[in-house]
């Protein structure tokens, strides 16, 4: 270790423009630390940085660099973290000598760009804050943007619902979602933009909010840490509101009470932080100012909880399907293996209006290749999937269509015009109908129905091919593929309990790879504004696994 210490000391001392101010030393955690000064040509003076080098160096510790350069005097500059650490955005190298060179070059680049040129970050960075537990438990509140402009110092109640509890590092966490904002007379001001399921289903609690407009900040990027620092942001009316609330809620003394603190951030967005108060023990005191009693915050530190803006654009910020699909109203007919995977994929990819229909019951043996869970036991597929999907995305509304609808409207007197009209009328409300039922009778009836966009998906035995019809006359095309073109081996199908429920053989992996390929293809075509054509996804397992998509 001594050898490593002197090696690092030597390598750094040889770097151009770098001099060692405090020699490097080794602590009990095998960390090496010291102080250097770094000079670039454009600046008259050198800048000083504390350096810490962890034992992993030149490799990373988890996902962070094992070297840090720090100086709290530089907090006002771009790309400096709350503890004064400089974000140097460096690159990987396994050899110590090279890595030291790379990292110091990155540091010099930071000095030039953010210290000398004073560049500001183009993206907004949230206030620096460290959430802390309230009575040893963490609290989180998830919110969305709202269609409402809060006035400065507007305050009132907000309604929230609990979602699942969890563990946050070494402590428990209680998670909540913000439902709506109400004025002091408890009238709803505006609702968060969650799905109807979330708006309707969950139980409610009350919290308090105040909108400051300006961020509650000190040293430009740190959130205030003491209640007395909040005083300049509020007025006497808010103090009266707090006083009255606490007086009227003595029965709940000791309970936690979240206070959302809102402010504007760039792009006209609002961000909310949450401070956790204890009923009966609000950090306020009464004082007499100019002959009148009023409230003011006490000199106590604030317990900040966790908040996240979970609006649609953030929730799906990392990727989604194209808007032509996500903004469509979609019906999925048949939610077995293929249908449930399609449904889950659409919802995970940003769709918000998905209806499902199936008459079938989920059995334990369905779980292995669909989006169902063992723990839900035996139940209607529709109800389990609905539940699965609405807990996946807070923006999706899933309606279950009457399971008898298709039976009644297609198979009785399939040639009668009035029945067909009835069916068409019902399906007109959908932009896309995805039929995963593998029901040839249904396909036949749909053959000359006018449906906005009808997509039929099915898989041949052992998932050798996926057959997808997207054009008119889907019955003729699909039947021709199955009967004349593809070699669908029906001798070797899975008959679990006799011949009454045969099904094709394939695993979750077999099916999912084809379904995802098909959805990706459809999404790509729509994104490129190319017309959709029927297609077959062919697989080949002779030399490893290959997929080929043939368009018709």
């Amino acid at each position: 270790m001594e050898k490593r210490l002197s090696q690092i000391q030597h390598l750094i001392s040889e770097l151009k423009g770098v001099s060692i101010e405090v020699p490097f030393s080794l602590d009990e955690h095998m960390n090496i630390s010291g102080k250097v000064s770094v000079k670039i040509e454009e600046l008259p003076d050198a800048l000083e940085f504390d350096i810490t080098i962890l034992p992993e160096y030149p490799l990373k510790r988890f996902t962070t660099e094992a070297i840090s350069f720090s100086n709290v005097d530089f907090l006002e500059y771009g790309h400096v973290m709350g503890n004064g650490n400089i974000c140097i955005h460096t690159s990987h190298h396994p050899v110590l000598k090279n890595k030291i060179k790379i990292d110091f070059d990155s540091l010099k680049r930071w000095i030039w760009k953010y210290y000398y040129k004073k560049e500001k970050d183009t993206h907004y960075e949230h206030l620096i804050m460290q959430p802390s537990p309230f009575k040893n438990i963490h609290f989180s509140f998830l919110f969305t943007e709202v269609e409402y402009t809060f006035k400065k110092q507007e305050f009132g109640f907000f309604e929230y619902s609990k979602i699942n509890d969890g563990t946050y590092f070494d402590k428990n966490i209680l998670n909540h979602i913000v439902q709506n904002f109400r004025n002091p007379s408890n009238k709803i001001v505006v609702e968060c933009k969650w799905s109807n399921h979330i708006k309707q289903v969950l139980r409610r609690n009350f919290g308090l909010y105040i909108f400051l407009k300006e961020p509650p900040v000190k040293s430009k990027k740190f959130i205030i840490s003491n209640w007395s620092d909040l005083e300049p942001f509020v007025n006497e009316e808010f103090h009266k509101f707090l006083y009255d609330f606490q007086k009227n809620n003595r029965k709940t003394n000791g309970y936690p009470m979240p206070l959302l603190v809102g402010y504007n951030i760039p792009k006209k967005e609002i961000h909310w932080q949450v401070a956790l108060l204890e009923i009966g023990n609000f950090p306020v005191e009464s004082v007499k100012i100019k002959q009148k009693w009023g409230g003011q915050f006490v000199n106590e530190s604030i317990t900040w909880g966790i908040t996240r803006n979970s609006s649609y654009d953030y929730f799906f910020g990392r990727g989604k399907l194209n808007t032509q699909i996500t903004e469509s109203k979609i019906l999925i007919i048949g939610i077995g293996a293929i249908g449930s995977i399609v449904a889950k994929t659409l919802v995970k990819s940003g769709c918000t209006k998905v209806d499902i229909v199936d008459y079938d019951i989920k059995e334990p043996e369905n779980v292995c290749r669909s989006e169902y869970s063992f723990f839900n036991g035996i139940c209607n597929k529709t109800h389990e999937l609905q539940n699965e999907l609405i807990t996946t995305s807070p923006f999706v509304d899933i309606r279950i269509m009457d399971q008898n609808f298709f039976q009644a409207n297609t198979k009785f007197f399939p040639n009668e015009d009035s029945i067909k009209t009835n069916l068409q009328e019902k399906l007109k409300e959908y932009d896309i109908v995805i039929d995963c039922s593998t029901d040839n009778d249904l396909l036949y009836v749909f053959n000359d129905c006018k449906i906005n966009k009808y997509i039929n998906l099915s898989i041949t035995n052992e998932a050798k091919e996926l057959v997808c019809s997207v054009e008119p006359k889907s019955y003729s095309w699909t039947m021709n593929q199955y009967e004349n073109v593809l070699d669908n081996d029906l001798e070797n199908i899975h008959n679990p309990t006799g011949c009454w429920s045969p099904t094709f053989k394939a695993s979750y992996n077999d099916i999912n790879v084809l379904v995802q390929y098909a959805i990706k293809h459809i999404n790509t075509k729509m994104l490129n504004k190319e017309p959709l054509r029927n297609f077959v996804v062919n697989t080949n397992s002779e030399k490893g696994f290959t997929i080929k998509l043939n368009e018709f």
């Binding site: 054009e471 008119p472 006359k473 003729s476 095309w477 004349n484 073109v485 043939n550 368009e551 018709f552």
Partner: protein
Amino acid sequence: MDKNKHLESVIKTHQIAKEEQLLNKHRDKSKDVKESLEKEYGSNIYSPFNSGSYAKNTAINTKFDFDMIAPFKKNAFGSNGTLKDMYNNVYDFLYEKYKDEANVIKQKVSIGIEFFRDEEGDIVKIDVVPGRELNQDKYPDDENLNLYVYYKYGNYDAGSERIKTNVKAQINNIKDRATNEKDSIRKIIRLLKVWKGTKLNYPTKSFLLELITIKAFDNNDITGSLWDKLEAVMEYIRDEVTKENFTLKDPGNSSNDLIDTLTTSERQNFSNDMDNIINRIEDNDENIKTYFPENEKFIEEDNDDTYGDKGAGLFSIPPKNERFG
């Protein structure tokens, strides 16, 4: 799978004569429309005439394409009347006249009269294309007409553009070729129309399919079986239609280029579709059935042509008891 036998059956089952009743209904309605136009516009209109596939001998029985050209005099809508005035005036007249028995719709250059389904379940559709002679009283000599473009198609902008053409020359050109080369040009045109019928709102006009087929035959030595010819035409379309300098001259006005009725991406899709058809049929003959489907209504199965037996000789003992009334 015998591709040629199948294609012959496609053509046979799509023969327009097989839908005699529907054909007659189209003829009757067409006559009715013609007479009402003549009655309404009197001396301001020349004799309306049919210009669709039926007139060109390239029709198929799943889509009749009854187009009626209504040639107006230059001053029919006042000496300052515009093409738009003409189009709207004809629309207003047809709408008032047929609103109780048909949907009257403004289309690209025509006005569609789609009669409501009759007791036998048939739907008759006549497209009226109003056109105006270029100079007063010159139509009988030059047969040239200006058409109004109601909404954008291909590279023609809505309203702003006028199409000048000689419809009679268009018809005669195609009719002559289709009739004289009925085993090649006519059959291929009909097959391509059958294919187009499998698509929803395909942007390629029938007229374009006719011209491009003729051009393919003019530019290549296309011989062999029916499938060979069809494949060669499809290859021609695939290879040529995306080329920047590709043109399809309107036989009615050589300065009109029919390829302009398609956008660049529509041309690319047209080419891709031809490529897909060729490749998929090469993968498996059976795919020909869904690209070029027979008209199921008129498929004649083999045993309709002869008295049949169950394959075990002809000797029978009649059933024991049988009741007649």
